[in-house]
Amino acid sequence: MPAPHVVVRNLAVTVRSSDGAPLRIVDDVSFNIQRGDVLALIGESGSGKTTIALALMGYARSGAQISGQIEVGSAAFDGKAGADLAAQRGHRITYVAQSAAAAFNPSRRLIEQVIEPALIHGTATSAEARAHAVELFAALALPNPETIGNRYPHELSGGQLQRLMAAMALITRPELVIFDEPTTALDVTTQVEVLQAFRKVVREQGATGVYVSHDLAVVAQMADQILVLNRGKVREQNAVRVVLETPEDDYTKTLLAAARPVVKAALPVAAVSKPLLSIDGICAGYGPVDRQGRAAHPVLTDVTLQIGRGAAVGVIGESGSGKSTVARVVAGLLAPTAGTVSLDGQPLGASVKDRSREELRRIQIVFQNADIALNPAHSVGDILGRVLRFYHGMQGHQAQARVAELLDLIRLPAGIADRRCSELSGGQKQRVNLARALAAEPDLILCDEVTSALDTVVREAILELLAELRRDLGVAYLFISHDIATVQALCDEIVVLYKGTRVESGARDAYAAPPFHPYTDLLISSVPELRTDWLSEVAAKHGAPFAHRPESADLCRFLPRCPVAVAGQCDVTLPPLRMMAAGNAVLCHRTEAELARDHM
C-alpha cells in the first residue's frame, strides 16, 4: 500500500471553558487518508467534525489550541510550528463552507472571489484563472458559465452558490479539498444536483477529499471511508459499505437508526364533519394587491386545506414553495389577499389585530429556530410565565406550578425554569420553544420547520415528543417541513406545495407508493438512501422537455421542471385535479395509470 496522503496522529483541540479549565473538544483522533480517497467525518453537532476538518488546514477558531501531528503531503503541523500547514490554506488545501450564501462576501462580484485564491497564491494569472473558472462553472453544470461570475451573491440561489464555492475551492488545483456540510442548507432536489456536480469534479481533479456531514445517506454517496465521531472521540472508522451494513459501534448503530425516521404511533382521528381549522382558497403575497385580489408578488395561489381536531397535517415543499406563508396566514401574521381561514367554522380576522385574545390563544406558532424565537436574556420560567399571565392570568405559585407541569410535559427537569435559554442545548431549546406554545393550551400548533435545525438523533426525540403530546393532549398540528421523511413520520395527511400551488394532497399511506404528482415523485426520489449506488441511479432519471418554457400562472407551475410533461396538453391549459384510487388528489394532466407508469 502506498504511503497515505493525509496522516493525522493524536490530534487534540483544546478550548478554555467558561470557568477557565481546559476542555478538549477533539481528543486523541488519528486517521489516514489514501491519495484520491474521500473520507467522511460524521457525527452530531458538538462531535468535533468541523473542528477536525479545520485543523487539517492548521486553523483553529478563536481561543482553540491544536496539538498532535498532521501531515498533508509534504506539509506538516507538529503542534508548535503550525505555519507550514497554514501556508497551504487556499492553495494545496481548500475548503467548501456549509452556507455558501453566508461564506461569500456580499459586496464583491463572485468571479473576483472565485479566482482570488489563484491570484494570492500565484498559481495563475488573472486571465488564466478566469478561463479556468469558466471551465469549472461549466463542469459544475452552472447556467451561463461565461457570465455567471459577474453577478453578486444575493442574485443567485443557494445551490448555485454552493457550486461556485466548489469552483473557488478547485481553482488552485488543490490536492486536498475539505467539504464542510456543503449541502445541508439545500433542498433535497437541489442537493441531488449539487452532489452529482461535486462528485464529478472531485473525481476529474483526482483530489483527496474530506467530507464533513451529519447525514449518513449523503455521505454514502460521496465517501470511500467513514470516520464516526462522538464528543470529539473516534467511535469507528471503516469503509462506507461496512459502516452502513455491519456497523460495529453502538453509537454508529444509533445514528443509523435515527437516519430512518419511524412512523410515530398516533390515535386514529375520528372523522368529524366539522374540521377544527379550514383554509379556503387562500391567496397571499407581497406588494400591492390588484382588483382580482392578486398581490404583485404572489406566494400562495388558491390553497385549500382542512385540519380535524387532534389531527396532524403536513405541508411539504422546497424553499419558495410558500409553505411557511401558509403558517403565517393562519397565524394572522400575513393577511391573505383572497380566501378565508376559519376556526371551528367561525371565520378568523385576517390579521392578528382583528382577532380576539381567545382566538389567538387557540392557535400557536412554533418557529424553526429556537435561538432566535426565545429571548436569550430571559429564563425559561419567565418565558413560560409570560404566556400563562397573558392568556390565563396566572401569577405567583399557581404559575410556578404550571411551569413545572409544562416542563414535565416536555420531559425537562423542573430545575431548568431558572436557567436562561442561552445555557440550554439545541434540543432543550426546541422543547422550551414548544412548551411556550403549549402554555397557551392551544387547539392547533403551527410547527414551522421545527426539526430542521436539529441533529438526527435529537430530531427523532422531538418527533416522538410531538406525537406523544398529540396523543395526550389532543392538540392538532400543521407541520411544515421540507423533509418528506419527517412529515411522513408524524402526519396523517400530507399536502404538497409547489410555488404556492397545492399539487397533491392525501393521507400518509397514499405517499407510500405511486402514483404521485410528478413533483412529489421528484421530492421522494431525491431523498438520499442509505446505499452507495443511489446517486448514480437517480442521476439517470432527471430531465425535463419544457425546461426552457418560462413559468406561467396559466399553466401547471411545475411544467419547466416536469420530466413527464406532454406537448399539446401540459403547455396549453391548466391541469385538472384528479382523484387517485388511494384517495390522494393530484393536480396533473396525466391520468392515474400514466402517473403510475411514469414512476417506473
Binding site: 479545520l54 462576501n105 459586496s107 453578486y152
Partner: protein, 326 residues
C-alpha cells in the same frame, strides 16, 4: 454589458437617492417650523434687547412695529421661509446688516477649521479603529480602548485649557489665540490652526475610532471572513478588500455625525481660541435675541447635517450591491 443595461442598473439607486433627498427636504421644512417656534419662545425680543431696561413700553411697541415683530407669527414664518428658500434670510436686527453677509464672513472660517480637523482626524480614527479591531481583546485593543474612552470623557474645554497651558504658556510653541495673518505662509497657517484642530480632533478621533472598531468587529464575526482566511488571504487584504467594503455603511454614517458636529458644535474651541466661526456667531445671536441671524444659523446647521447624512446614505447605498440594484 450594453449601455442600456448599465443605464437601467443605475435607475434603482438614483430613485432611492432621489427619495432620500425628498425626505431630507421635507425634514428641513419641518425643522424650520420647529426653529421658528422655539426661537419665538425665548423670553424677550430684539426690540426689548436693543432699547435696554430703561425703555418705556410705548417705545418698545413702536420699535416692534418698525421691525415688523407685531405681525402674526404665521405670516412672519412664511415670509421668513420664503426668504430662506430664495437665499435671503433677512436683515440682522442687531448689526443692521443682511444676515447673509454676516454668515458669509464667518462661513469660510468654519469650513477651514472643520476641513482641517477632518483631514487630521479621519485617518487617525481609521488607524485606531482598524488596529483595535484586529487585535480585539488583546493588549493593543485594550490600550486603545482606554485611550479613546479617556478622550471621549475629557471635556473639550479641559483639553483646550491644558493644550494652551502646555503648548503656549510652558513651551511657547503655538499661539494661544487663532489669528491667521493676511496671505499666510503654509507654516504660519498650520501653526495658527494646530491647536484648535488638535483639540477638536480629540473628540472626533475617539468617537469615530470606536465606531470604526465596532463596525469592523461586526463584520469580522461573519462567515465570509473565516472563508477568506481559509483561502489564505492576508490580514491586510482581509481588512481592506473584504471587510471595509462591507463596513462602509455604518462608518460613513458615523463620519457624517462627527463632521456635522465639527460644523456647528465647535463653540468651545471657537471661544477659547477667539476664532470667528459660525458657532460663536449663533451663541451671540441668542444672547442679543437677533432672531433672523439665530434662525439662519440653525437652519444652516440642520441643512448641513441633513446634507452630510444624505451623502452618507448615498455612499452606503452605492457600496451595497443589494441596495444598488434597488
Amino acid at each position: 454589458m450594453s449601455g442600456a443595461a448599465s443605464a437601467s442598473a443605475w435607475r434603482g439607486p438614483a430613485k432611492l437617492v432621489l427619495k432620500r433627498t425628498g425626505l431630507a427636504l421635507v425634514t428641513l421644512v419641518l425643522v424650520s417650523a420647529v426653529i421658528f417656534t422655539i426661537s419665538g419662545l425665548l423670553p424677550g425680543d430684539a426690540a426689548q434687547e436693543l432699547l435696554g431696561q430703561g425703555a418705556t413700553p410705548e417705545q418698545i411697541a413702536a420699535l416692534r412695529q418698525e421691525m415688523g415683530l407685531d405681525r402674526p407669527a404665521v405670516v412672519r414664518y412664511f415670509e421668513w421661509l420664503r426668504g430662506i428658500a430664495l437665499g435671503d434670510p433677512g436683515q440682522s436686527l442687531v448689526a443692521n446688516k443682511p444676515v447673509a453677509e454676516i454668515i458669509s464672513e464667518r462661513l469660510p472660517n468654519t469650513l477651514t477649521l472643520a476641513g482641517l480637523t477632518t483631514l487630521f482626524s479621519v485617518p487617525i480614527a481609521f488607524l485606531i479603529g482598524i488596529a483595535s479591531a484586529v487585535s480585539r481583546g488583546k493588549g493593543t485593543d485594550r490600550a486603545l480602548n482606554i485611550a479613546t474612552l479617556a478622550m471621549v470623557a475629557l471635556p473639550e474645554f479641559l483639553v483646550a485649557t491644558i493644550a494652551v497651558l502646555v503648548f503656549s504658556v510652558k513651551l511657547l510653541w503655538l499661539p494661544s489665540i487663532t489669528i491667521v495673518p493676511q496671505d499666510p505662509t503654509l507654516w504660519e497657517f498650520l501653526r495658527a490652526y494646530a491647536m484648535p484642530v488638535m483639540v477638536l480632533g480629540v473628540g472626533v478621533i475617539a468617537q469615530l475610532g470606536r465606531m470604526i472598531r465596532a463596525a469592523i468587529i461586526a463584520e469580522l464575526d461573519r462567515p465570509y471572513v473565516e472563508m477568506a482566511r481559509l483561502k489564505g488571504v492576508s490580514q491586510r487584504r482581509l481588512i481592506f478588500r473584504h471587510v471595509l467594503p462591507n463596513a462602509v455603511g455604518p462608518i460613513v454614517n458615523a463620519m457624517a455625525l462627527s463632521l456635522s458636529y465639527l460644523f456647528g458644535g465647535a463653540i468651545i474651541v471657537e471661544t477659547i481660541f477667539s476664532y470667528p466661526g459660525l458657532a460663536s456667531l449663533m451663541v451671540n445671536a441668542v444672547t442679543s435675541r437677533d432672531m433672523p441671524l439665530l434662525q439662519a444659523c440653525a437652519m444652516l446647521f440642520c441643512a448641513t447635517y441633513l446634507l452630510l447624512v444624505l451623502i452618507a446614505d448615498t455612499v452606503a447605498i452605492l457600496a451595497n450591491p443589494r441596495l444598488r440594484q434597488g
